[in-house]
């Protein structure tokens, strides 16, 4: 009698472990994150040659974000190694979004309004919500971590300035990462002034741990 119960328990336990192990592997699989290259930034001095570029995000797994364009504007056109104004534009569904980083201020422009924020604090600087999409800007000092629980969220994340370590990937401001089917989001700033653009579908309002 006891031997049968033992076998039954083992079977159920083994079944549960098998199911559990699949879930664990799925959540932690690096296949749920994908690093991408941000389209190379065009550098501009004072004058023309600023043009629209219809740049599709290559291999983007999400159909709600596209047309990422990065432009860097230099001070006075004299020193091309001194970018002063970094500008990103992308399309969220069909909404045009623009994010600008100039000196010590951040700007987010949508179809209706431009918001300006000082870059003097760490944490979430700005959040804009469009139905089930969220656009967030996060500022971190070197070594600071950003953690949150997420559920059923698709995320496109890229450093506008600085570097982050995420999912064992070191991302510079020339790279981004797609994240999906994860139950947590965690990254750490590797440079002193790191500013991250986070665009997500489905709630990003989850608890930050």
């Amino acid at each position: 009698m006891e031997r049968r119960r033992f076998l039954q328990k083992s079977f159920l336990g083994g079944l549960a472990l098998g199911l559990l192990s699949n879930n664990v592997l799925f959540a932690n699989s690096s296949a749920q994150t994908m690093v991408f290259d941000v389209p190379k930034a065009s550098k501009h001095i004072r004058h023309g040659l600023f043009q629209n570029q219809s740049l599709n995000l290559v291999n983007c797994p999400f159909d709600w974000i596209n047309h990422l364009q990065k432009d860097v504007f230099c001070q006075d056109g004299i020193d091309l190694e001194a970018p002063e104004f970094v500008h990103l534009s992308f399309k969220l569904e069909n909404k045009l979004m623009n994010v600008g980083l100039c000196k010590n201020s951040l700007y987010i422009t949508d179809e209706l309004v431009t918001e300006e924020r000082d870059l003097n604090n760490s944490g979430i600087i700005n959040t804009k919500v469009y139905e089930d999409k969220t656009v967030q800007i996060i500022q971190l000092k070197k070594g600071q971590k950003h953690k949150r629980k997420i559920h059923n969220t698709q995320i496109c994340l890229l450093p506008i300035k600085g570097e982050i370590l995420i999912d064992n990937h070191l991302l510079t401001d020339e790279q981004g990462i797609f994240v999906q089917n994860q139950n947590k989001l965690f990254f750490e700033a590797q440079r002193e002034e790191t500013i991250v653009l986070l665009v997500g579908k489905n709630s990003l309002q989850n608890k930050i741990t």
């Binding site: 501009h44 001095i45 004072r46 004058h47 023309g48 040659l49 600023f50 043009q51 629209n52 432009d71 504007f73 006075d76 056109g77 004299i78 002063e84 104004f85 500008h87 534009s89 045009l96 623009n98 600008g100 100039c102 201020s105 700007y107 422009t109 179809e111 431009t114 300006e116």
Partner: protein
Amino acid sequence: MGGIVLDQPLPYASINQIDPFLLIHHWSDRLPGGQHQKNVGVGPHPHRGFAPVTFIFKGSIHHRDSEGNDETVYGGGTQWMNSGKGIVHSERPGQEVVSKGGDFEIIQFWINAPAKNKMDAPSYQPLSKEQTPQVLSKDGKVKVGVVAGNYKGVESSISSYSPMLILRLDIEAGGETTISVPEHYNTLLYQLDGVLTINDTQQTKAKDMTWFENDACDIKIKGNQTCRAILLAGEPIKEEVATYGPFVMNTQAELMEAIRDYQAGKMGELIENFD
């Protein structure tokens, strides 16, 4: 700039602007010929918030824009564009000089617009050499082309955003003249070539830019050699300037909106038609 090698007297070093003048680009080249216009010059790009003005000295410039203007201006002429709330334009050497080759020389300078005019409707004003009023100095050796403003009673047809005097100077060796400018105008002289003596005290040479103090009205110039120069004098606007790339506004937020509006197609679209 985009593969074009040119001289930039303004902005320069610590001089970001000479209010209301924001930029001077001097492009001088010998085009080899055998090219197609679509591969030369500057293709479609936007502007908002100021007036880009181009003096053509050699060759020609073909201007096309999203308002439907399509015009070629030749040596001695001027292209004056008030970009206002936004316009997309291209500026390329004329097809003849591109295909046959030859000397090409232009100066483009930017004149800021007051805040109240930055969102005006855009406009384009071409002025040929023949349409540019000329004033001859007393000694007959200095020709002054009046592009904007009133010079010795001669007025240009160009409509500018704010009071100014914009002159083109052709000076023979030994020629001299005195130009009077309101004392409060910010005034600069950019020299294309030759040697000048200014106010009997200072010699200037090719590609020198002279920025005058606001302490007098008269500027005496004398040609030590044959010389070409431009004089830009304007009433300072004295407003905050936010400028990057092709836009000149008053705040960074307005620059963001200029970029957005351009990307959203609000400045129009230019599809160039090459014969």
